[in-house]
Each structure stands twice: as structure tokens, then as C-alpha cells.
Subunit: 153 residues, 2 copies
């Protein structure tokens, strides 16, 4: 097992150009622009598409549960939903427990999702091909590990 890092490893890791946060944010910015360019004809932003995907997969969810599924702050989701509600892609239903706001995909939302799907698939395949499938696959694993690590600590 590795107990400690070498001096050269430490030097690499603390080179400020190697800032994990800055590089992740940078990559998120440029990739978001690519996906939004692809989704532009659908009128959906990348974040909005992700919300629709999650609802299509999981079905109706209380706001807080949806936020957890998206690894997104609850209050951020509240605001992100506003344009989707305004466009009639999503509605909010009530529960027996009146505190709970259950988020539902409307028929219009389901259609918007299905219409956007081929555009998403196209850009996704381009990005995967850009890295090569094997490398991309490892990259995705690393993203998942990073998310899990950051959340647990």
C-alpha cells in the first residue's frame, strides 16, 4: 500500500496549474458550451435537460429527493425549475404531507425530452469519440470517484 507520496509527486500536485477545482470548472464550462450548442434548437439548457432526464428515469420525485439525485443544492433546484414550469415542461403536485412538493414531468416535458434526445446523443458521441471510448470510460469513472470522495469527506 502507498503510505505517502514522493517529493516529486507532491511537487506536481501542488503546482497551481494543476488545481483540480479550476480545471474541473474549466472543463465544465467548455463542455457545457458544446452541449448547449447542440441542444440550442430545442430551447433547453444543459441543466434543464438533465432535470428532464432524471424525471424521465426516476418518475415523479419530491423536490428534495430530486435535488439529491442531481447532487444539487435544494434551493438551487427550486430556481432551476422555474423556467421549466414556465414553459409547462414540469409541474408541481401536492402530497398528503402538505410540505412536500412533488415534481412531475408533463406530457409536453416528456416530448421535449424525447425531441432533445437525439441531439444529446450526437454531441455525447462526438465527445466520447474525441477522447476515445476507452479513455472516456476511465474519465467518467474518475469523475464518479471524485464526486463520491468529495461528498464523503
Amino acid at each position: 500500500m502507498k503510505q505517502s507520496e514522493s517529493k516529486s509527486e507532491r511537487r506536481v500536485a501542488t503546482n497551481m496549474a494543476a488545481c483540480t477545482c479550476a480545471n474541473l470548472r474549466k472543463a465544465a464550462r467548455v463542455i457545457t458550451q458544446r452541449y448547449e450548442a447542440a441542444l440550442q434548437p430545442t430551447g433547453l439548457k444543459a441543466t434543464q435537460f438533465t432535470v428532464l432526464v432524471t424525471l424521465a428515469k426516476c418518475g415523479d420525485l419530491p423536490l428534495t429527493h430530486l435535488a439529491e439525485a442531481l447532487v444539487l443544492d435544494r434551493t438551487t433546484l427550486t430556481r432551476n425549475l422555474k423556467p421549466l414550469i414556465g414553459q409547462g415542461l414540469v409541474t408541481i403536485g401536492n402530497e398528503r404531507d402538505q410540505r412536500v412538493r412533488r415534481i412531475k414531468l408533463t406530457a409536453k416535458g416528456s416530448k421535449a425530452f424525447k425531441d432533445a434526445l437525439p441531439r444529446w446523443e450526437e454531441v455525447q458521441l462526438q465527445v466520447v469519440a474525441g477522447l476515445g471510448h476507452k479513455r472516456w470510460s476511465g474519465f467518467l469513472d474518475d469523475l464518479a470517484a471524485t464526486i463520491a470522495e468529495a461528498r464523503s469527506t
Copy 2:
């Protein structure tokens, strides 16, 4: 050389839970929270720290050049600088060419950067250790490749 992907590869890549954009954004969110928690005593946000780092490394830069170095939209940078200017960490100087706004690190900004550095280093080393240095190193390469790919296309 790989000319095409297998059907199974395509199936993996177009699984919507594998959305490169959504996963990148998710990772950027959680990692940003980690870095901002570490930087919290300094009063700097992650983005602001990155601006100071870049200025400390590159020296004074015209706004547009700084934005290019950060891979950030020029108009976004204009606004991101406002709190830094307000706190006196950064100033804007003039050029012969009066269109150019040259962004400079002040002495106070330089001190703020140096004060924040050990906190950044600590969280950076934690994150690197979380993935393991070797895996983290490959992850960073993948981020760089993703950025380069997305920008070129």
C-alpha cells in the same frame, strides 16, 4: 486504428447517466464546495483565487488575455473582477491603447494570494490523495484533453 465503436460501446456512451456534461458539472459543484470550504477563512471564492493565481503567475494582463488564460468568457471575467476590485485585491490600469484595460494584482491582492496558498495546498493534496496520485494525474490529463478537444471542435 479504431475506425468505429462497437455496439456495446455505443450503448454505454449513450446511457444518459453517463452524460459527460452532467457528470462534469456535478463534479465541479462538489469539488468547488470542498475548495471553498478550505478557502473560507480567507474570504476568497474558488474562482477569485484562480484569478489571483493566474495574475501572480503571468503578471499584469489585458482583460481579454486574462480571460483567454482562464478559458472564461470575457464578459464573465469583467463581472468576476468586481468583488476583487472592491476589496482592493486587483486594479485596472491604462495603456497607450485606450481600449485596453490591464488587470493588475495589488500588494494586498498578492498578500491575499499568499495567505490562501497553504489552504489551497491542503485541500488539493487531500483531493489528490483521495483518488491516489497516479489516478489523479491521469484524471487531470483527461480534463486537459477534454478542454482541448471541446475548444478545437
